[in-house]
Subunit: 149 residues, 2 copies
Amino acid sequence: MNNRQQQIDYLLDRLEAAGKRSTPQRHAVCQVLVEHGGHPTVAEVFERVRAAYPMISQATVYNTIDTLRELGLIQALDIVDHGHTHYDLDLRPHVNVVCTRCDTITDLHTDTLEALVSLVGQRTGYQIETQRGVVMYGLCPRCRGTQHS
Amino acid sequence: MNNRQQQIDYLLDRLEAAGKRSTPQRHAVCQVLVEHGGHPTVAEVFERVRAAYPMISQATVYNTIDTLRELGLIQALDIVDHGHTHYDLDLRPHVNVVCTRCDTITDLHTDTLEALVSLVGQRTGYQIETQRGVVMYGLCPRCRGTQHS
DNA sequence: AGATGTATTAAGAACAGTTCTAAATGATGA
DNA sequence: TCATCATTTAGAACTGTTCTTAATACATCT
């Protein structure tokens, strides 16, 4: 029933299927990733995991996230001026729209992106990783109102 | 007639128009940026500028690039797993396709991206910076051939 | 031309996110 | 139980970028 629990279990299953162990640390990281929902950074994950698991090391968070990434279960998102990498569990093609003032990230799913991805593949000859989102920058609706500063 | 020279002069003119001085260091940085043509990093620019201007400081390269960016004359491009920022003089909307094996970046200009940008603006309410390119990842044609490794 | 004020530059220190290292811990399989 | 191997931990090391400070060069005013 619990969608999130299913998602956490899915990640751990895939880890085990890849011959990795399902440790409590990895469980905690996956749980935080799923429950965060948005586009967490390592620092955010570390901080939250720590609340439930105070002795966890930052290196473990990095390692777990790297492993998940190698298995293609999450993707990395580098955003100009943010200074750290964000991660995204959403592997459907979508646009991540970043506010250049408040840093809010909004997702948009649209067929136009999928069309663009396949067009880029055809035109360039690249084998595009279709599960990756793209990033756009702009002012979010709220910040457009407070533009003057 | 020299297209590149015009572009260099344009950058310097815009610097001066913004009240900045047109110093030899800035000239050298602009020249390297224009002549590079692709998506240079600060390290690449620094190295090349140094050849013609051995006493230039890395800080000056950073400062000049920051200034150009503040004036909207170049844009920054953060690419996952590259570890440093690339810069792009091309302010028309385009897709930067990055090879995940050899790091080659290929540009693609297409109306579909412009359509996507305006659609994203409408749907999300964000005021999208239309001059920014987006990044996609994949295997370039050459690396698709040597995939086995 | 000379003096004054301001922008720019240079060099290197400082910083932050990430990666690496080495030792300790914990699980697995014979 | 013992041996082995993966994993975790803590912190050092690394790297790209930013910051600081003093020196320099340019522009303006008289």
